[in-house]
């Protein structure tokens, strides 16, 4: 790194450039370097080396200054990131603080970011459910957004490809709307979860409660050991970075793999200002970065460019890449760039008590939980809203402590205590409909300290989301009631979009260049050597956690890019 000779164009020229090192950028880096391409990976934040840069990973609660609680100074100065469930004294160093990287909320949007090598792959919830054609065919069947240019058969082999390498724990459930994959042994459901699963199976058509597939090494294969990873140790401290490599992150998996190839140059502290477009050649020739430490502007060149800056920042980079050919942003002939942003609706929750299975509990911790695949509007339209929701589902018991009074009795109450009944709970994960009115754009006046315009975010819920939320509460209340659960407590919240951390779209894939930015291979329609394979490419959101799909889309596009390079087509 220190030897980068910035005076030499040759030293700044690579076969490929990958913008971003998160979950999709890491995959692009691995695939491109694995195919022999000299690849520059640009990361706007600092480097985070696996294990070495997980400073809190071995700490016991009493070793933290506030034993894990957040100081008021931090929460008051950072209201947005403080709303994220994973932001704590053990993980705060992996999150962007509100004031560090401002943006403009035309409408309230909790933009949760992780600016470092590995990005949010250190912090994700590690849920990995495949899409099916019930998802890819959604927009065409239900008449929203545009038709996906790909179908399940196009992506299925790539799901398998990334699953084998990443390591996905799951069971073969045989559910058409949630296809099975290449699984390591699945984590079991506990007794109360099994009870509900059997109840639902017996009493409801096409409704299933399964163990959620997750990116954890329940039983590593040789390929995972070769990556230097070992079995997940059920610590449930994933947000600190895992010293065992028990879950998939770029840091534990794809980035070191790319590094081992000898073909990767990783450049942290490099914020991409824009992609350079050459009018004569009719393609992109490189990227312009600002070194965040020196504020120096540097150009890097390559034959292909992968944009994996995370959904909204990818939009920002493309919008800011203007030229006389593309005055409104790279590839934006259609005018849809930045538009049709969507997310997942997590704003309803339900909990209850279960009076059975009292003689059973669990020992140890599970890295995952139960999952109810979408059951609404799957085979046909059956409600007054479009699409549907998946549900998280879990049951747990805990030791009930008494903390009345003071003195010796209190001391005893804090140690002893009966086991509680099972508590069951669920949250919704709803598909939202992409619309032109949900968009991001460049602020015309405000810029960040590197001279890049701030992003305006204007994204909101709509009536469809409200109806879906209501249906979730009704359906789950009914299912819980019929299962005999007691003290059922539905709740809704008004969390801003963004807090789901599933923002998607803005540079959507589509068949028609007039209404989309990317083709079926994630190439910018009008600039074929630029590939966008992170959340920005998503035409619709369905309701599965999206990261696995980004991985598969990225691996597919990267291998296509290599083929096209070989053929001289890009």
């Amino acid at each position: 790194m220190a030897n980068l000779n910035i005076d030499s164009v040759k030293a700044r020229t690579f076969d490929a450039i990958v913008i971003g090192s998160g979950i999709s950028g890491g995959w692009a880096a691995k695939e491109l370097t694995g195919n022999g391409l000299k690849t520059l990976v640009l990361e706007r934040g600092r480097d985070v080396k696996h294990i070495k840069d997980y400073p809190t990973t071995f700490k016991y609660p009493w070793e933290f200054p506030h034993h894990g609680q957040m100081p008021a100074e931090v929460t008051e100065a950072n209201p947005i990131v403080s709303r994220c469930y994973a932001f704590g004294e053990d993980s705060a160093h992996f999150f962007v603080k509100d004031a560090e990287h401002p943006y403009v909320q035309t409408k309230p949007f909790d933009w949760i970011r992780g600016y470092q090598v590995g990005g949010k792959s250190l912090l994700w919830a590690r849920q990995t459910q495949r899409w099916s054609d019930f998802d890819f065919e959604g927009p065409a069947r239900d008449g929203f957004a545009v038709d996906w240019p790909i179908r399940y058969k196009d992506i299925a082999p790539w799901y398998s490809y990334v699953e084998k390498f990443a390591g996905i724990a799951g069971n073969k459930d045989g559910i058409p709307e949630l296809p099975d994959g290449e699984f390591l042994p699945g984590y079991p459901l506990n007794d109360a979860e099994v009870y509900f699963s059997e109840h639902v199976k017996k009493n409801y058509k096409n409704r299933y409660v399964i163990s959620a597939r997750c990116a954890h090494l329940s039983k590593p294969n040789p390929i995972h050991l070769e990556q230097g990873r070992t079995q997940c140790q059920n610590r449930d401290l994933c947000q600190r970075g895992c010293p065992f490599g028990g879950y998939f992150s770029s840091n534990a998996t794809t980035i070191p793999w790319a590094e081992k190839s000898g073909n990767m140059t990783l450049r942290p502290f490099s914020v991409v200002e824009s992609i350079i477009y050459d009018e004569k050649l009719g393609k992109a020739t490189g990227v312009r970065i600002v070194d965040t430490k020196t504020k120096e502007t540097i150009e890097y060149y390559a034959r292909i460019i992968f944009v994996n800056a995370a959904a909204l920042n990818t939009n920002l980079v493309l919008l800011n890449s203007t030229s006389s050919r593309f005055p409104n942003g790279l590839g934006n002939d259609s005018g849809v760039l930045g538009k049709y942003v969507a997310f997942h609706n997590y704003s309803a929750h339900i909990s209850a008590e279960f009076d059975g299975m009292k003689e059973w509990t669990v020992d140890g911790r599970s890295p995952t939980g139960g999952y109810i695949p979408r059951f609404r509007n799957v085979y046909k339209q059956e409600t007054d809203f479009l699409r549907g929701y998946a549900c998280g589902f879990g049951a747990h018991r805990y030791q009930q402590h008494k903390y009345d009074g003071v003195g010796a009795g209190l001391k005893e109450g804090l140690v002893k205590g009966d086991l509680s009944p099972w508590y069951v709970s669920s949250h919704m994960m709803g598909e939202t409909i992409p619309k032109a009115s949900n968009f991001v754009s460049l602020d015309t006046a405000k810029k960040d300290e590197w001279g890049v315009p701030l992003l305006n975010i204007s994204v909101d819920y709509d009536d469809n989301d409200e109806k879906m939320k209501k249906d979730y509460i009704e359906q789950l209340t009914e299912m819980f009631t019929s299962a005999g659960f007691k003290n059922i407590q539905p709740s809704t919240n008004h969390q801003a979009p963004g807090l789901d951390i599933h923002e998607m779209g803005g540079a959507r894939m589509g068949k028609d260049p007039k209404s989309s930015i990317l083709n079926e291979w994630n190439q910018v329609h009008a600039c074929k050597n630029v590939f966008v394979t992170d959340g920005a490419c998503m035409t619709s959101t369905s309701c599965q956690n999206p990261s696995l799909t980004y991985m598969a889309i990225t691996a597919r596009a990267a291998n296509h890019a290599v083929d096209e390079l070989k053929k001289g087509n890009v």
Binding site: Q69, D404, G417
Partner: protein, 198 residues
């Protein structure tokens, strides 16, 4: 690779990262340089005595043995907003006045029995209000915000932080319970009868 070997190797990689944080003074009266609130050494000493009344030395160590008061002060200083801290400080004065009017004494000069009576008296008077957390519960964490009633803000602030300090102390998590940081297992259909501590 064996789990213990992995942990050992990783600890070697990390080196100093596993060292314990530095300790605070063990002095019973003069403690901590606070950043956000002013507490005289008498006031700090009062809070330490309340901590010790909440978690007294029995046949196991008490709050002062475990050096909990400095941590309680640090939490009140760092983890409450200004409004809560103002209520807390106002409550501290009310508490002092209450003890004085009832016993014509300072808290420090009361017998252990009277100290307990003062605290349980306040706690029982709050049973019907929202200031009192519901019981039983999981091992409690302090609430993010304090009650608006100053006396309750003060009492619950100290009590919740003392319980938190105690239940997250190395002593408690290693000697009173076993905090299993690396379970390495998830077993379902596990008989309740096999659980420890129940």
């Amino acid at each position: 690779m064996d789990r213990r070997t992995v942990i050992k190797n990783l600890a070697l990689v990390l080196g100093g990262a596993v060292l314990l944080p530095s300790c605070l003074h063990h002095d019973g009266t003069s403690y901590v340089q606070l950043k956000h609130i002013n507490l005289s050494s008498d006031q700090q000493s009062l809070i330490a005595d309340i901590c010790e009344t909440i978690i007294p030395k029995t046949n196991t160590p008490g709050a002062k043995d475990l050096n909990l008061p400095p941590f309680v002060l640090k939490m009140i200083d760092d983890c409450y907003n200004k409004k809560d801290q103002e209520a807390f400080l106002a409550g501290l004065n009310k508490f002092t006045d209450l003890v004085k009017s009832k016993y014509s004494s300072t808290f420090a000069d009361l017998s252990a029995k009277d100290r307990e009576a003062v605290l349980t008296g306040i706690e029982n008077s709050a049973k019907t209000t929202a200031a009192a957390p519901k019981t039983p519960a999981r091992r409690p964490k302090p609430q993010k915000n304090l009650a608006s009633d100053p006396l309750m803000a003060f009492y619950w602030g100290v009590k919740q932080q003392t319980i938190f300090a105690y239940t997250t102390s190395q002593y408690f998590m290693t000697k009173q319970i076993f905090y299993d940081m690396v379970p390495g297992r998830y077993i379902v259909h596990y008989p309740v009868s096999k659980l420890k501590h129940v």
